[in-house]
């Protein structure tokens, strides 16, 4: 079967700085992949290249067999790759429902030059998807709250929910639990991961908390100095001595389980 994501010899340089190099990763559909590494190890660069935010210097990215290297973000989104952000990117002056509805309506708009104008924003298809996404992410009690008044965790859920309302097949989560208190992290990830499972969405998530990675990832990629130094099941990667040596936090996690 064609992998949903196939990355070959990916490289990104900014002048003399090498932000990513020799990245080779192939992800089969329905896998949940954790991405770990210190700040500046190349995780976000990797995500940004897949979503079209950065154009790779070298190498290729294939999505469901189709070459998407260097395509603009909005085109990649339309093909079926969506992302959420480290700092939740929502529309602060709109309510939760309106946020979701916009996201759903954009994904369901008619194609062509005038598609944006000829599609009503509150079409039945868009509103029912918006309601469904709100239920799926368990934020129904905030449905009519303006987004800038939401607690941090709900903002994150809304951000991811908006990505999901666009019906992606691959979703990239950039630090879904950053800015969330330790007590709330697991609840948040439980909601997110069961939502994504029920929609059969393949997930790549960047995460610093190794407990979260160990619990939710089928597979873990460890980044160091712009490249992947370990790739395997959560246990294989987290127990890898090189990973433990180079990525802080991993050894701590291993020690706590010893």
């Amino acid at each position: 079967m064609t992998p949903i994501l196939d990355v070959r010899d990916l490289e990104k340089t900014f002048g003399s700085l090498v932000a990513a190099r020799d990245i080779n990763v192939s992800v089969p559909a329905h896998q949940t992949v954790g991405v770990i590494g210190a700040n500046g190890a190349g995780k976000t660069t990797f995500i940004n290249m897949i979503t079209g935010h950065l154009r790779p210097t070298k190498g290729s990215i294939r999505f469901e067999g189709r070459d998407i290297t260097g395509k603009p973000s909005r085109e990649i989104v339309r093909l079926g790759i969506s992302r959420s952000f480290q700092v939740a990117q929502i529309f602060p002056t709109l309510t939760v429902f309106e946020n979701m509805c916009i996201a759903a309506a954009i994904a369901r708009r008619k194609s062509g030059l005038l598609g944006n104008i000829l599609t009503p924003v509150t079409s039945p298809a868009a509103t029912s998807e918006a309601e469904a996404a709100i239920d799926l992410f368990q934020i129904a009690r905030y449905r009519d709250v303006t987004a800038n008044a939401l607690p941090q965790g709900v903002r994150k859920l809304l951000d991811i929910g908006m990505a999901v309302a666009g019906s992606p097949r691959l979703l990239l989560l950039d630090e879904p639990t950053s800015g969330i208190s330790i007590e709330e992290k697991f609840d948040l990830m439980n909601v997110v991961m069961s939502a994504l499972k029920s929609r059969k969405i393949t997930v790549l998530f960047v995460e610093h908390d190794m407990e979260i990675v160990a619990k939710f990832a089928d597979r873990v990629l460890a980044f160091y100095d712009g490249t992947v130094i370990a790739d395997g099941t959560a246990h294989e990667t987290l127990d890898n001595p090189r990973v433990q040596e180079l990525i802080s936090g991993v050894r701590l996690k291993a020690a706590s389980h010893a």
């Binding site: 989104v77 002056t93 954009i106 994904a107 104008i117 000829l118």
Partner: protein, 316 residues
């Protein structure tokens, strides 16, 4: 439900306004025609304002629409009013579509100033063009309506009805546009452009569309105004003309399509009243009204309606 009610309300107002013409004094019909022609330009500014963009150069399209009518009459002798109005709209739309590639990349003050600069270029060119009467401009051939050539009071009634008709269609289409994905993206784009891009839509594409819509509306307004005034001159592109449209936009607010028409009518009435009563101080009167609007009705005349609605909703 609510949209059907406002549609019926609008239709009733339209019919009432059309039927009133023969019973009103001539000066009032002319004033209303100019007000409703200018309201189209304001409606275009409202479309831009909803994404947080202000154009201080909408007079560019107004002037293009006006000169398109005047020049066609002068060069070809063609005088059919409806066709000329559409020509004005299309002409301004083509210009908006081309400079939109540039404008759609700018925001905030840069957008405002760049549009102002472009309108002043046209002003400069027209002032220097002796063959088009330089600063004096020239007069517009008397329009005809499908072969019918009214004059005197009849002519002003027909122009008034034509303006009402164009306004009604424009209001309906802009209302539909506000309900579309592109129209509803106004607040999201103002809030967070990155998110809009990552939902799979081109922000500059959306803004470009809005520039074109505003341009077409500006051209239609200019064409109607030119026929109604019977004269065009470079002042139609001057920045104070643009400033007047922005003034009315602030007065009207961006909440309702209808507010553009009510605001424009209120502005023209206020201006002629102020000029009449205090010929030396009319600018001061207008300035005070704008100040009071910003202080007490920051969302414009249109917000009076939503305030009433809220008050009614609060009562059991």
């Amino acid at each position: 439900m609510q949209s059907r009610a406002s549609l019926l309300g609008g239709l009733a107002l339209l019919v009432a306004a059309a039927l009133a013409a023969p019973f009103l004094p001539d000066w009032m019909v002319s004033l209303a025609t100019i007000a409703f022609a200018n309201a189209l330009v304001v409606l275009g500014l409202v479309v831009l304002w909803r994404v947080g963009l202000v154009s201080f150069g909408q007079a560019l399209y107004y002037c293009i629409g006006a000169y398109a009518v005047a020049l066609t009459g002068r060069w070809t002798g063609f005088t059919d009013a409806l066709a000329l109005v559409l020509l004005g709209g299309v002409g301004a739309g083509i210009v908006a579509a081309s400079i939109g590639f540039l404008l759609a990349r700018y925001r905030e003050i840069f957008f405002a100033m760049l549009s102002l600069a472009l309108s002043m270029i046209l002003y400069g060119v027209l002032v220097k063009t002796e063959s088009l009467g330089s600063t004096d401009g020239f007069s517009v051939a008397t329009p005809t309506f499908f072969g019918y050539a009214p004059h005197g009071a009849q002519l002003s009634h027909w122009l008034y009805w034509l303006t009402l008709g164009v306004d009604a269609i424009a209001a309906l289409l802009v209302g539909l546009y506000f309900r579309s994905v592109a129209g509803a993206l106004a607040a999201p784009i103002r809030d967070n452009e990155i998110r809009v891009e990552f939902l799979g839509i081109s922000v500059s594409g959306i803004i470009h569309t809005k520039v074109i819509i505003a341009g077409v509306l500006g051209g239609l307004g200019g064409a109607l105004a030119a026929m109604s005034i019977g004269h065009v001159d470079p002042n139609m592109a001057y920045w104070t003309t643009s400033g007047g449209f922005v003034f009315v936009t602030v007065l009207a607010g961006s909440g309702y399509v209808a507010a553009a028409f009510v605001g424009s009518l209120a502005f023209e009435a206020l201006r002629s009243f102020a000029v009449d009563v205090m010929p030396q101080l009319w600018q001061m009167t207008l300035g005070s009204v704008l100040l009071l609007t910003i202080l007490f009705l920051p969302e414009g005349l249109g917000s009076l309606v939503s305030r009433l609605r809220q008050r009614r909703a609060v009562k059991p």
